[in-house]
């Protein structure tokens, strides 16, 4: 209809880059491209119709005849002018109608998009019952991250269920074989989380590195996108007692190995930060053309994904190693203690965010 190019509406709020088709600009509707009105026949037909209506009101003017120009030239001109005016007015009304229609369509589309946005946000709202409005992930919607936030919500719900089941199981007369099933299920649940995180890291590594899906108190303990395995072992140790001498030695060695592995990864991360800073600051700061530096930095960010995956692998190995050292019952107690510890951190975040503010 018109030759206007498709307008992309980069909404900062929505971050959805979509051609809201032919967002109408009034300027597009001006000019004669709406209807083909260059045909002389249109004007003649209009003129005839107008003359007939004028017949009834004035009863004097006969049909305009283009061969009868000498006598009625001024009248013809006037009539032609009137017809053209009417035609222009008609075209204008049609253009306005089309413009308003397009606006209405865009409005409907906007409402639809906002609804989708609201729903997507709401998916991430129920994360273990914690108010996530403080999570602050207000960037553009990344489908990979939206999926992760939704899945994490379910993961926490399942986690709470498992903790509850584990507590009941430990207080009952349940045998070791049955308890083993709970333990293996518990460990597998953590492995599921690491799988989810790996996918999300590919979607947005900064999101994972910043621990944005976690509550504030959990984030305080963040190390490369998750908990620090050696710290975890220290938290669990009192709950594993009584331990045999061999077990105590094994746990001690495991803690030390963990710490060494963590230190190595931390040093690698520091080097990555250093290289990234260097890449961005190459040439001179203040130079306007820094796109090369930025592009070079993007490649380095891929390395960050490897680190996140490696850190999760360390967490996974720690969980698997500790479960090998412990008896089934000890492992069950350990998992329960771990789950309750995380739950308390989440509760701390919740209390902290809803505490009454001091009046000045």
């Amino acid at each position: 209809m018109n030759s206007a190019s498709t307008h992309f509406v980069p909404s900062r709020r929505m971050g959805i880059y979509e051609p809201i088709h032919q967002l109408p600009m009034w300027g597009d509707f001006k000019g004669n491209n709406l209807l083909d009105t260059s045909s002389p026949m249109m004007l003649e037909i209009e003129a005839k119709l107008d003359n007939q209506s004028e017949d009834t009101s004035h009863g004097t003017v006969g049909p305009s005849n283009k061969y009868d120009q000498e006598a009625s030239k001024p009248d013809d001109k006037v009539l032609r002018r009137l017809a053209q005016n009417r035609e222009a007015a008609r075209k204008s009304r049609l253009r306005k109608k089309a413009y308003v229609q397009q606006l209405e369509n865009c409005k409907l589309r906007l409402i639809q998009l906002e609804e989708e946005l609201r729903r997507a946000r709401q998916q991430g709202l129920h994360v273990g019952g914690i108010d996530t409005s403080q999570l602050g992930y207000s960037g553009s919607i990344n489908p990979g991250i939206a999926t992760f936030e939704m899945e994490y919500g379910h993961w926490v719900e399942e986690q709470n269920r498992q903790i509850s089941d584990l507590r009941n199981a430990l207080h009952s007369d349940i045998g070791d074989m049955e308890l083993r099933i709970f333990v293996e299920g518990g460990i597998r649940h953590y492995l599921d989380l690491f799988t989810m995180k790996a996918t999300a890291a590919s979607a947005d590594v900064f999101y994972i590195m910043s621990g944005l899906w976690k509550t504030p108190a959990e984030r305080f303990f963040l190390w490369i996108g998750g908990f620090r395995p050696s710290e975890l072992l220290k938290v669990l140790l009192p709950h594993l007692e009584p331990l045999s001498e061999q077990q105590r030695l094994d746990v001690c060695n495991l803690t030390q190995s963990c710490q060494q592995a963590e230190d190595a990864l931390s040093q690698g991360m520091e080097k990555l930060q250093h290289i990234l800073a260097e890449t961005i600051a190459t040439a001179q700061l203040g130079e306007r053309n820094y796109l090369t530096q930025i592009r070079g930095a993007i490649d380095k960010l891929d390395a960050l994904v490897r680190f996140v995956v490696q850190a999760d692998h360390l967490r996974q190995e720690t969980l698997q190693q500790i479960s090998r050292i412990l008896t089934t019952r000890q492992a069950a107690r350990g998992l329960l203690a771990l789950g309750e510890y995380m739950k308390r951190l989440r509760a701390l975040s919740s209390c902290w965010s809803s505490r009454p503010r001091e009046q000045p």
Partner: protein, 104 residues
């Protein structure tokens, strides 16, 4: 690949690395922390870099770097090294090389 095999057999602990690879640096730091000094071979300074990469992948190294060889045998990449260390199996492997400073 001959070059890799030769390097691995001549050096007790070998890490095939790239100068820009920070994960390689992390593995190097771990070994240093454990009291050994592996040979770090930076393949990006080798004209045959691409061939070496392909060879390492063929040998089963997913990185392809870091690729860790101990006693001439491929141990693996970061995953394998970390798993070995946490299970307590890495130290026995490197003990023969702890007192030496990477001499043949």
């Amino acid at each position: 690949m001959e070059k890799i095999v030769k390097l691995a057999s001549e050096n007790g602990i070998l890490i095939m690395s790239k100068s820009s690879c920070c994960l390689c640096y992390a593995v190097q730091m771990l070994f240093q922390d454990l009291g050994v000094h592996p040979l770090i071979y930076e393949i990006d300074h080798d004209p045959e870099e691409k061939e070496i990469e392909k060879a390492l992948v063929r040998m089963g190294c997913s990185g392809p770097v870091p690729a860790v060889f101990i006693g001439g045998k491929l141990v693996g990449s970061t995953n394998e090294v970390m798993s070995l260390h946490l299970s307590g199996s890495l130290i026995p492997l490197i003990t023969p090389y702890q007192a030496l400073s990477n001499v043949k």
